[in-house]
């Protein structure tokens, strides 16, 4: 599969100090919820490979297994059977806390419902992941301010989520996901609660971030938003139905940002 995707640049491969290898590899992933007669198989053998620097949109009707796949990709859940390799690590073999460590180091999350801490300032929300990484207060503050600046919300740093619009809240959430400088940004319906104008702004932001080298995985059911991605993965009935790669290549030449 990976041979069909845009290859990594030489610079990228050199930086990783190893041969070009997919960032994420899923092989024969199944996921069953419940037991016995009530058992429900949400994933029936998913194979998926995602390269570093890609911008992937995951689409499919509800119940198609896209959310379950995202949870596994986000190391929040483990497959019932199959292998999921992230940065060469066999995630299905990791303990709960080890997956937490993986998340805090390499992953950033953006949710449909924003999921900011209520009654807590934007700045403190953005600082939160750094707190768990054990960074000092000064470093936390500086990094959080940088991150808020990146999403254009530095002037709103002291506002609580209740004082911010939906679009602004999602920007804070993106700033929080970015503050740890993650390899992968996982966005679960990031524009699901926003109007079209705000949605497009968020997508522009994600596109810009992707240009800086962050791999983005996004679940969406909106065709319009999926158009921003380089790769679209279509799910149906717990299986990958189709993968469209190399989209928007006229805008984002593969690896162009490293040229």
């Amino acid at each position: 599969m990976s041979t069909a995707s845009p290859p990594l640049t030489e610079a990228d491969a050199a930086r990783n100090g190893r041969a070009a290898e997919a960032l994420i590899e899923m092989e024969g992933i199944t996921k069953t919820f419940g037991q016995g007669a009530a058992a429900f198989q949400a994933l029936k053998g998913v194979d998926l490979s995602i390269d570093r620097g890609d911008f992937v949109a995951v689409m499919g009707p509800s119940g198609s297994g896209k959310s379950t796949t995202m949870n596994i990709l986000g190391c929040l859940d483990v497959p019932t059977t199959g292998r999921f390799r992230f940065r060469g690590v066999e995630v299905q073999d990791l303990a709960r806390d080890q997956r937490s460590l993986l998340r805090r180091r390499y992953l950033g999350f953006v949710f449909q419902g924003f999921n900011l801490l209520a009654r807590t300032s934007a700045l403190e929300n953005v600082e939160l992941p750094l707190l768990y990484r054990g960074e000092k207060k000064k470093q936390r503050r500086e990094a959080a301010e940088r991150s808020l600046d990146l999403v254009g919300l530095l002037p709103w740093a002291d506002h609580t989520p209740a004082e911010l619009s939906g679009g602004q809240q999602q920007r804070v959430a993106i700033a929080r996901a970015l503050v740890t400088d993650p390899d992968v940004l996982l966005a679960d319906e990031p524009t699901g609660n926003l109007d079209t104008e705000r949605s497009l702004e968020i997508m522009e932001l994600l596109t810009d971030l992707n240009k800086t080298g962050i791999t983005i995985l996004m679940v969406t059911h909106e065709e319009e938003m999926a158009q921003f991605a380089k790769t679209i993965v279509h799910f149906r009935d717990g299986l990958v139905e189709r993968i469209d790669r190399g989209l928007k290549s006229h805008v984002h030449a593969p690896g162009g940002e490293h040229a």
């Binding site: 937490s100 998340r103 999350f109 768990y132 960074e135």
Partner: protein
Amino acid sequence: MLGMIGATFLLALREIRRHLLRSFLTTLGIIIGVAAVITMVTLGRGLTADVQEEVSGLGSDVFIVFPTRTDPNTAPPPFDDADIRAVENQIAGVVNAAGSVSTNATAFHNGQDWSTSVEGADTEFFEAQSIEIAEGRGFNEEDEARGGSVCVIGPKVVEEIFVADEVIGENMRVGNVSCQVIGMIEERSNSVGNGDANDVVFMPLKTVQRRFIGNADNVQFFVVKYDPTYSTATIQQQLIDLLRERRVIQEGEDNNFNIVDTAEISDTVNNITGTMTAVVTMIAAISLLVGGIGIMNIMLVSVTERTREIGIRLAIGALAREVRLQFLTEAVVLCCFGGLLGILLALGLSILLAGAADLPFIFDPVVNGLSFVFSAIMGIVFGYYPAHRASKLDPIDALRHE
């Protein structure tokens, strides 16, 4: 990790401030429990100290011996000087023994009068009763031997009918007896049931016996000071044996005298306060248990309310133990606040009650410190299960929680 604990602590404070009334009501059990224990212990200490002071007013390591009736119709024979000398000479471990008589009389000086108590005493009596001379001198052998007209007066008498700085060397009249003031005693604490110990005029024993009582030999009671390195029980038994023999009491007959051991009085009071403290501590323990269950309950509510928050924290990479630490810290901080409020409440109550009961207020840092530590431990004990539950939440389910 240290930064983590600091941040967790601030977070806990913020959560408590957000639900101020709820936090207060939750900790009420702990507040009441802690306040009850500390108040009781503090008042107990005060009572003990008060009694010990009164007992020390009677003299330490001292027996007080006085005649008692065995038959309501006959007065018991009094003790006399010979009895006292016998006790002093025949019982090993007795340092000295001194008798006393007392009566009420009016003291006159400077045209003023004051109704007071006249007590016969000698140097040994002062010593046994731990009476100190503040100004002037005590009685000397000559005063005692000839029954001199000299007196040593208490501060209360000075206050009532003397002009300050014009006390020693002044003449005064007590009843029909003139005497010269040769000394003034140190202010002393009131002894049990004896009225104001500072409202007194001491004269040589013989003077009071002859001129007030009209009998040169008898004493109303005598004090026996003993060497504390000897066994108290042995001395007491020897004392009883000697006095029964001297008073010709047949075997089987009751003693027509009583021996009060000052050490025994403080022991008794200590036992009573100890028992009272134990009872209140039991009640407080129940209050604390109920309070602890309240903490656990409210922490479980808090975990449920904040399921989504926990989900967010877990998703962005919080470890189970970090979530557990957060909720444990909150429970501990809550309990510590309860403990602190309990200590403050106890402080107020103790001062108030000690004042009302005329007891000294004695702040006990150990009891207060232990109560605080105990509150914190309660936070750990009753906060652990809710915190554990929070840490075991599934991040996906927690994030979906509404």
